[in-house]
C-alpha cells in the first residue's frame, strides 16, 4: 500500500515540477513566471519529499522531510515577494496584455498628490484609508 502511495506522490510531484519548468519557460512576463516557479514548485517538492517520507517510514526521515516542507512553505512566498518587489522597483516591463497595475497607481498617487492629479486618476492613499 505504502509503495503505491509513494509512487503516486513521486509522479504527482514530478508532474508539478514539470509544470513549473514549463511555466518559467513559456509565460510572457517575469511576474507570471515567478508565480509559476513559486507555487507549482513548492507543491511539487512537497509531494516528492512526502513520497520519500512514505517510502522510508521512519521517524527521523519523516521529521526531516516535514521540516524541509515547512521551510519551503515559509520561504518560497518570502523569496518570491522580495524578487517581485525588487524587479518592479527596477522597472521590469509587464506583459503588454496587462490590464490592471494597482501598484503603479498607488505609487503615482502617493508620489505627486493633489495638484498634478487628473480626473481619472485614483484618489490618494490617505483618502481611501482613513487612519
Amino acid at each position: 500500500m505504502s509503495e503505491q502511495v509513494s509512487a503516486a506522490l513521486l509522479l504527482i510531484g514530478a508532474f508539478f515540477m514539470l509544470l513549473a519548468g514549463l511555466g518559467v519557460l513559456r509565460l510572457p512576463d517575469l511576474f507570471m513566471r515567478l508565480q509559476a516557479a513559486t507555487k507549482a514548485s513548492t507543491l511539487g517538492v512537497g509531494c516528492m519529499l512526502l513520497a520519500a517520507a512514505v517510502h522510508f517510514q521512519g521517524l527521523a526521515v519523516t521529521t526531516r522531510t516535514t521540516l524541509v516542507i515547512a521551510f519551503f512553505c515559509v520561504t518560497a512566498p518570502v523569496g518570491a515577494h522580495m524578487i517581485a518587489r525588487a524587479a518592479y522597483a527596477a522597472g521590469v516591463p509587464l506583459w503588454e496584455g496587462t490590464i490592471v497595475d494597482e501598484l503603479r497607481e498607488r505609487r503615482r498617487a502617493s508620489r505627486d498628490p493633489a495638484p498634478g492629479r487628473t480626473a481619472d486618476s485614483p484618489p490618494p492613499v490617505e483618502d481611501r484609508e482613513p487612519a
Binding site: 509522479l11 515540477m17 513548492t42 517538492v45 520519500a52 521551510f71 520561504t75
Partner: protein, 96 residues
C-alpha cells in the same frame, strides 16, 4: 540488466527523474535566455528547488535516507541565495 520487470517504485522513480530532468532543462533555457536579470534569478531559484526534488527521488531510488540531508542544506542555501539576489537587485534598481 537481467531482471525483466521493474517494481512499481523503480518505474515511478525513473519517470519522476525524467520529468524533473526535463523541467531542469526548460528552466535552464530560461536561465540562458532570460531577458532581464530578475528572470535569471527566478530560473536559478527554481533550479535549486528542482534539485531538492531530484535528490528526494534519488534517495528513494537508491534507498538511502542519508541523501535527504543534502536536500535540506540545498533548500537553506537556495533561500539565502534568493534573498541575497533580491537585495542586490533592489540596491541596483535604486542606484540607476
Amino acid at each position: 540488466m537481467s531482471q525483466s520487470l521493474l517494481t512499481m517504485t523503480e518505474t515511478a522513480v525513473r519517470l519522476a527523474l525524467a520529468m524533473v530532468g526535463l523541467a531542469l532543462f526548460l528552466t535552464f533555457v530560461r536561465l540562458v535566455r532570460g531577458p532581464t536579470l530578475p528572470d535569471r534569478v527566478v530560473a536559478l531559484d527554481l533550479m535549486g528547488v528542482l534539485a531538492v526534488g531530484m535528490i528526494a527521488a534519488y534517495a528513494v531510488a537508491t534507498n538511502q535516507p542519508v541523501l535527504l540531508d543534502p536536500a535540506t542544506v540545498l533548500a537553506l542555501v537556495g533561500f539565502l541565495g534568493t534573498v541575497a539576489f533580491a537585495g542586490y537587485l533592489e540596491r541596483r534598481g535604486r542606484d540607476e
